[in-house]
């Protein structure tokens, strides 16, 4: 199973980035073979539609669950259509969030935040 953590940096110690569409990095972990792929989020500075393109990327990467903070309405539509589950992570490192996920401590997100919620606090 592949899961993705939205992260503020590239390492396992980087903290969770609470914005889904405009996060800095996607850290994809294949739990079956314990392999890690880091993808810088090209959509983080896009003019619009960051959630759509980030959602599309998750679908293309075959991710089955996402650990993040907030998901906007457009991203939610893409992720729902792709059948990807969304979990609310904690303000901790990538490694810690992966462990929380494995032990079933994270809750599923079904509600969205308003459009453009993640547009402040840009890199």
């Amino acid at each position: 199973m592949k899961i993705c953590i939205t992260a503020s940096g590239e390492s396992n110690e980087s903290k969770l980035d609470p914005r889904f569409g405009r996060c800095s990095y996607f850290v994809i972990v294949d739990l079956d073979i314990n392999e890690r792929t880091v993808i810088p989020n090209e959509a983080s500075m896009t003019g619009g539609g960051a959630g759509v393109s980030s959602g599309q990327l998750m679908a293309e990467q075959g991710v089955e669950a996402i650990i993040t903070g907030n998901v906007g309405p457009n991203a939610m539509n893409v992720l729902k259509a792709a059948g990807i589950d969304i979990y609310r992570g904690e303000n901790k490192s990538v490694t810690e969030n992966v462990n929380f996920f494995k032990s079933g401590k994270l809750k599923k997100i079904t509600e969205t935040v308003p459009s453009h919620f993640g547009m402040g606090n840009r890199r």
Binding site: A43, G48, G49, V52, S53, G55, Q56, A81, A82
Partner: protein
């Protein structure tokens, strides 16, 4: 002659200047291009008699033809299309109506479908025209474009532009003959004035500056104008009287003879300096 009033920073006094000019120059046409928040009507009090919807075309997907190949989503530069599990998702409000997806689709599975994103309103004589973008719509350019189809050619036109220096402003400025840049003596006013100046220079329009909420010493703005050899056309003082009247929907030119003459002088200067 078309005169565009812009500012960079919002709240500097574009509407004060453009509505005052249109109240002084008779006959003239006032066009409110600030379609996200048109407010000229508060001062000019027109009788709106005509209302015309602004339509845009966004893609409709025929699922019986679509193979889910993803070419359309790849062609879209605005992330208005996504393809997941071989199904196209359309996000109409992100669409910029460029038409790239129709060309990219090898199977002709996409067809344009009409959507209303705003409205153009005007009085009987069309001397007052305003555009309104529907609430929640992020793409204002089509409304400004439509608005400009109603510009008169037999009298001076005054365009009250949106704030900023983005696509909507560029669309509003297109084909104008003179630009008035309204600023205020604050750091933010100067910062955004510089952006607006570089825009009108790039577009090649003659322009001058009006300092609103001016103090006794505006060296802040004056020094910059001197350095850049930009003409300050007029100063409107930081005045409680003007502000109070404004809050009641009364323009300076409607309350004080002095301002009527000052705006007439402003118009005379613009006539001399404009392209046509």
């Amino acid at each position: 002659m078309t005169i565009a009033v812009l500012s960079g920073k919002g709240g500097t006094g574009k509407t004060t200047v453009s509505a005052s000019l249109s109240a002084v120059v008779k006959p003239s046409q006032y066009v409110d291009c600030d379609v996200e928040e048109p407010n000229g009507y508060i001062f000019l009090k027109p009788d709106i008699l005509h209302s015309i919807p602004v339509k845009v075309e966004t893609p409709f997907v025929d699922d019986s033809i679509c193979t889910g190949c993803g070419d359309c989503a790849e062609a879209c530069q605005f992330n208005a299309l996504a393809v997941v599990r071989n199904k196209v998702l359309v996000f109409p409000e992100l669409c910029h109506h460029c038409g790239a997806c129709y060309i990219a689709c090898k199977f002709n599975a996409l067809t344009p479908s009409e959507r209303i994103t705003g409205v153009i309103e005007m009085n009987e004589e069309k001397t007052f025209v305003q555009g309104k973008l529907n609430i929640g719509e992020p793409v204002a350019v089509p409304v400004v474009k439509k608005l400009k189809e109603y510009l008169k050619t037999d009298m001076p036109v005054i365009l009250d532009c949106p704030p900023g220096a983005s696509c909507t402003v560029v669309q509003a400025l297109e084909d104008c003959d003179f630009c008035i840049l309204v600023t205020e003596p604050t750091p933010f006013g100067l910062h955004d004035l510089k952006i607006a100046v570089s825009l009108v220079k790039k577009l090649g329009f003659p322009f001058g500056i009006v300092i609103n909420k001016a103090l006794e010493n505006n060296s802040f703005i004056d020094d910059y104008c001197k350095e850049e050899k930009i003409e300050v056309l007029m100063e409107i003082p930081y005045s409680k009287e003007i502000a109070e009247n404004y809050s009641d929907g009364i323009l300076p030119v409607q309350s004080n003879e002095k301002w009527l003459r000052r705006f007439e002088q402003l118009y005379d200067k613009i006539k001399e300096r404009a392209k046509k």
